[in-house]
Symmetry: C2
Subunit: 140 residues, 2 copies
Amino acid sequence: MTLREALDQEKMDALGKHVIAELYECDREIINNQELIEDIMLEAVDLSGATIVKPAFHKFSPHGVSGMVVVSESHFSIHTWPEYGYCAVDIFTCGNLIDNHKALTHLKHRLGSKSISVVEMKRGMLDLGVELHHKPVGVK
Amino acid sequence: MTLREALDQEKMDALGKHVIAELYECDREIINNQELIEDIMLEAVDLSGATIVKPAFHKFSPHGVSGMVVVSESHFSIHTWPEYGYCAVDIFTCGNLIDNHKALTHLKHRLGSKSISVVEMKRGMLDLGVELHHKPVGVK
């Protein structure tokens, strides 16, 4: 890859992608287990190529888990309803190097979901007359 | 309000609402100030009637702030690009008692945004043949 091609990959018409996923018919025991959810989410972040900044997970009484992970490239979140076998997931990432789909496939598999629906939105479609960079040029 | 009416309000065709907001032309100094962003977000949570569970904020170098607040009713998140005057916000709440619009109006005002665009999605539209409750009946 030439330097020009590498730089071109950084040219974006939007700052990020936001994947909103509904995971149905999940394993009700798995999605009520905070430690497991935490492991599975952090694995998903890792598989996507994103970098963990701050995780925050919480178990509700009597059931349900919420978890968010701030990553360098934005965030991953999950909210689970074990009583309905349902999880709400969103993955907001910036740049062209993060593989959201790998993360989502991992979540579907590990949470035992039998069906999912996904909406993908572009975020930050700015018309400022300048080339957009999701992070300052030169910052790793 | 009768007990029946109160119970009826808890009947939902979806578990939650997810507001995805683009805030343009924000005050670039404000949206680069982690402490301010934290105050403004927690005020927005409070105004909406949601309950804070776990906040997680982070300042990037040389600029930009990411923040997430796990609330009892799901989450609030913000990611800021001071260099573009842009903030990406999402507010995911469950139940009928949270006022997302009050939260969003507060964010727009305090972040000095001159224009916003908003998409609102229903989350967890489950067809399970049972009445949906975003939290177990009887739990406050």
